[in-house]
Amino acid sequence: MSGKTGPVAVMLLVIVLIWYAGAVYLNAPRLIDGYERNDTEWTFGQLTDDAWAMERPILPAPHQVLVEMNDTILGKKITSKRSLVYHSWVTISSTLLGFAMGTALGMLLAIGIVHVKALDKSLMPWVIASQTIPILAIAPMIIVVLGAIGLTGLVPKSIISMYLCFFPVTIGMVKGLRSPDPLQLDLMRTYSSSASQVFWKLRWPSSVPFLFASLKVAIAISLVGAIVGELPTGAQAGIGARLLVGSYYGQTIQIWSALVTASILAGLLVALVGVAEKFVLRHMGVIHAGGAR
């Protein structure tokens, strides 16, 4: 762990510096435009100061975002509608539900595809086709349809998350379940073991590394799905609603603080999956194996 803090800090610093420079670069044209319209004299120093302190900048400076986050995360009661903690929780809860459902669905599909030939041939192309449907397009319809049968709140949003995140799980799992060496499969054949035994004793363990790689992608996508799902529900609450309303009113600082919060959340979720991965792989003893030799 300690081996990482140094490099991470350096990288973070580099990013922040680029960010500050970017803020000046992107905000300057509008400021200069303003100066010229008002015939004000200006210096570069003044430009940077102004660029980092605009009320509606194109790119807010990091400290502006931090101040806003501080206000909305620490400065508000967590039950308040103005608290980002409250909105994060709304989003996280549908993310997690969606992730759980998506993972379950993805695994089930993968298992079906690997074991049932008719499913392999018929389902796979449609699983793929399903992902080429832009979710934002059908999300409102999903919400309308589910709303008509009385499902509102958490579930419709989670279903959208699930729709997005089952796919990487299916793809990774199918690959993983098919990854055992032919000789390892032959061994199982010699025991005339049942399909479920082959699954639990061979296919499943060899798919675990693939599964975790997919889960990391899936949980990040699942968060995206939850956020997307918040838009057509009338932007009631959640990080997506903050983003949307922020965009609608041109409040870039608010957008960016929601963005940063979203990515921190996602980073944490991915890291959590990473920890689970380390734990499971170490437990399984494959962590040093460097491949199944």
Partner: protein, 311 residues
């Protein structure tokens, strides 16, 4: 209590102050109604929601409602809340535009999703094709905000008197730097926020009387908002689940909205058939991209409004 679900056209904001006031102040409750207000958003089409059974009554703009009617969603206007239109096209003075005659070859920002009909009618009236080129105008699908004009990606953008215009001002452009073309002034104004229900429901008397109560209570809300704009703004803020709205902007919005609501001599909510006819004429006048192909029939009804007057 009788249940009513109202689908808004957009997110919770001062534009819908009257309904929130009516709910918050208990006007609906007093009328024996239990009203659910569903906020809208960029990809919620209220006609679709009502067709799918997700709402009893929706707020929509008349061009969109009439177009939907032609597409098979039989919407009927039962009350017209906004008397006048808040639409305008806002241009930068430094772009050199001084009148609609200068639009040729320019880039204009327009909202779509059924909100483009008034614009298309206007351009058709001006004889400007919207496919771009030197003789026409280049149209951009304007996103959520007014960035295109701030960044000079467009010469003009669509704005509402009560919302986007002030965002431009807040972003640092002064009113003197801007030139606005109000649709009202250009003679292409169409009716905006009105209440619409499905035609078949109007055959049901219970429904009509329920709507009458709803309209009456909503109008009370609007009257209250007109008298107490700041309190109305406060109520809107409280109902905003995102907590992202600002007080300053909403107070200003409610005041602007009140201007649009006012002006009907029969009282808030009355649809003046003359206004209706003007809207239809504007829409039918658009030859190149027809919004509606023929004058609609039965697209409005005073039945609900008349009963509501008795409440």
């Amino acid at each position: 209590a009788e249940e009513v679900t109202l689908q808004l056209k957009w997110v919770t904001q001062g534009q819908f102050a009257g309904y929130y006031v009516a709910k918050d102040k208990g006007f609906y409750e007093e009328a024996g109604l239990d009203v659910t207000i569903k906020p809208g958003g960029p990809d919620i089409a209220p006609p679709q929601v009502i067709a799918g059974g997700g709402a009893d009554v929706i707020i929509d703009w008349m061009p969109s409602a009439l177009a939907s009617r032609e597409k098979g969603v039989p919407l009927v206007n039962i009350a017209q809340i906004f008397k006048s239109s808040g639409m305008m096209l806002t241009c930068r003075k430094d772009s050199g535009i001084t009148s609609p005659a200068d639009f040729k070859g320019r880039t204009l920002g327009v909202w779509f999703f059924g909100n483009e009909y008034p614009f298309l009618s206007w351009m058709s009236k001006l004889g400007l094709p919207t496919e771009g080129g030197a003789d026409g105008v280049t149209v951009l699908k304007q996103g959520f905000n007014v960035d295109p004009i701030l960044q000079k990606q467009a010469d003009c953008v669509s704005t509402m008197t009560y919302n986007e215009y002030w965002q431009i001002i807040d972003a640092g452009l002064a009113p003197e730097d801007l030139l606005v073309f109000k649709y009202e002034d250009q003679g292409v104004a169409t009716l905006e926020d009105g209440l619409y229900v499905l035609e078949e429901n109007l055959k049901d008397e219970a429904f009509v009387s329920k709507m009458a109560k709803f309209v009456a209570a909503s109008v009370r809300g609007w009257e209250y908002a007109a008298a107490n704009p700041d309190e109305a703004a406060e109520i809107v803020l409280e109902n905003d689940a995102t907590g992202a709205q600002t007080e300053k902007h909403q107070q200003r919005m409610v005041r602007e909205i009140n201007k649009l609501v006012a002006g009907s001599d029969k009282g808030i909510g009355f649809l003046d058939p003359a206004d209706y006819q003007r809207t239809v004429d504007v829409l039918l006048g658009n030859a190149s991209t027809p919004v509606i192909t023929k004058a609609p029939e039965g697209a409005w009804s005073h039945a609900v409004w008349n009963i509501s007057q008795g409440q």
